[in-house]
């Protein structure tokens, strides 16, 4: 175990451009029309991430905060390998595990148990690995009583627990937690916070996105505040969050006045 390379997330001057088609040919008809009638549809480059730099050391829990649409999720998708950066260097070492929204990736008609296998396999676990972790996954989600019923009968809180538990038990090196705790009750959120801290103490990396500043304060070692795709400020959690909240308040009172 000691010889395993340490996890790492390193992004240097990363840019990401979405090609936003104002009237993207969503149907074949439109695609043909565009080609044969010379109907030029407008294409606009939207830079979702601009010159973003972030280096995370093993054992850190880093929060990303900022208004909706500031590029947090895009950054996380690049770390997860789902999106490719348009420019810049991205280096990620270790097994990346994105936590999904409650119920995402689950098949409604399958039981909780069957879904553990389904989402475990998609996350990159082998069958044996899931077999071995199964008891721990079910126990951690506190799902023993309803693991054999179809997940369409689950509440969103139950879905979230099970989903989180599967992901947490794949022994990830880099955990991505993107605004998934919203439907959890306080006891579960506390449990997740402990889990994330444990992972960090074992040298893993956690990237955490939330709009609940109290939670960010409790969880994160440091915070990156983003605005329109770039880093606005980065530093220790307390200072950055305090300023973010304060600015939010002044804006609010400006709006009222």
């Amino acid at each position: 175990m000691a010889s395993e390379p340490l996890p790492l997330v390193e992004m240097r001057e990363v840019w990401k451009c979405y090609r936003r088609h104002h009237d993207r040919p969503a149907r074949l008809k439109d695609a043909f029309l565009a080609r044969f009638l010379g109907h030029v549809h407008q294409v606009e480059d939207a830079w979702a991430v601009r010159d973003f730099t972030l280096c995370v050391e093993p054992g850190e829990i880093v929060g990303l905060i900022g208004p909706n649409g500031c590029g947090k999720t895009t950054v996380l998708s690049i770390v997860a390998g789902v999106l490719e950066a348009s420019r810049g260097d991205v280096r990620v070492r270790g097994r990346v595990c994105p936590m999904l929204q409650a119920g995402a990736g689950f098949h409604a008609d399958l039981t909780g148990l069957e879904n553990v296998y389904l989402s475990g396999a998609i996350l990159g676990m082998g069958r044996q690995e899931i077999d071995r972790g199964l008891d721990a996954i079910v126990a951690w989600a506190e799902a023993e009583r309803w693991i054999d019923t179809p997940v369409r009968t689950y509440s969103s809180g139950m879905l979230m627990r099970l989903g989180f538990s599967v992901a947490a038990h794949m022994r990830p090196d880099v955990l991505i937690v993107d605004e998934i705790l919203a439907t959890g009750d306080e006891a579960f959120r506390a449990k997740v916070r402990h889990r994330l801290r444990d992972e960090a103490d074992r040298g893993k990396i956690v990237l955490f996105v939330s709009h609940y500043m109290e939670e960010v304060l409790m969880v994160c070692d440091r915070v990156v505040r983003m605005e329109s795709g770039s880093v606005l400020r980065a530093g220790p959690t307390g200072a950055i969050v305090e300023q973010y909240i304060a600015e939010g308040r002044t804006q609010e009172s400006d709006d009222e006045g």
Partner: protein, 251 residues
């Protein structure tokens, strides 16, 4: 490698389980539907049109199985990325496993229906013959073709959602120009030549020939069908490679 086979296996089983989980008759539906089709078409052809083909039902049934495999797989593969949108957008994993697992779960279905067919053969009875083993290469040609088509259509459908509608119509036409509900021998000879360019004609008529007449399809037809199915696979891989990196953005 091990992980990929596990992933494919689990996806396949999940799809099979989910497919009939909420119906009382479960897998039996995949037999009832074709049987119903046979009764209706048999009635129209034999009863109403007085078109007398001896042993019509069994001739139809034998060709209907590979056709159903083809039809169901192509149509089921189309919306697969849309259905797994959340996962594709968040997790990096071999995405081709989604359409390919549609092919493999349809294959399991097909094999189950073949078992039923052989049970029918024992009852009727139809003599078993070692030549039946030749069904394996025929099915293989079809599976390779389906893998290519599933890859292409699942990706294309994400970009252009007409694909599913267009395919629905095309498949119906394709059904009638493929010798499924009529044997090739019922067609004027001048037209029979064109079946050479329809790989599904080779496969359906091949099934009929091997199972009922104990004869192999001619080599020319087999070669053309094999070439076509390999071509399908290559085109599918090219389309997938080109277009799949953008899937998370398009979905």
């Amino acid at each position: 490698m091990r992980q990929i086979t596990d992933l494919l296996g689990i996806l396949t089983i999940s799809q099979l389980k989910a497919r009939y989980r909420r119906s009382f008759l479960g897998f039996l539906w995949s037999l009832i539907v074709p049987l119903f089709q046979i009764v209706v078409i048999g009635f129209v052809f034999q009863g109403l049109l007085q078109h007398d083909i001896p042993n019509y039902t069994i001739k139809f049934l034998v060709a209907l199985l590979p056709w159903t495999l083809f039809n169901d797989t192509v149509l089921a593969a189309c919306p697969t990325f849309l259905r797994f949108r959340d996962v594709v957008k968040k997790i990096y994993f071999p995405r081709w496993s989604l359409p390919i697992s549609i092919v493999s779960s349809s294959l399991v279905h097909f094999l189950l229906s073949m078992v039923i067919l052989f049970a029918v053969f024992i009852i009727i009875p139809v003599a078993f013959d070692p030549i039946f083993l030749f069904l394996i290469p025929l099915a293989l040609i079809e599976i390779v073709m389906l893998a290519g088509l599933a890859l292409s259509f699942s990706v294309l459908h994400t970009y252009y959602q007409d694909v599913e509608y267009a395919l629905g119509a095309l498949m119906r036409m394709f059904f009638f120009i493929t010798p499924v509900m009529y044997p090739t021998s019922e067609i004027p000879e001048s037209y029979q030549y064109w079946f050479l360019f329809n790989p599904m004609a080779t496969i359906c008529e091949g099934f009929r020939g091997v199972l009922l007449r104990h004869e192999l399809p001619c080599i020319e037809h087999l070669l053309v069908a094999s070439a076509f199915s390999v071509l399908c696979l290559i085109v599918g891989i090219v389309i997938y490679r080109r277009m799949s990196p953008q899937l998370p953005e398009v979905l």
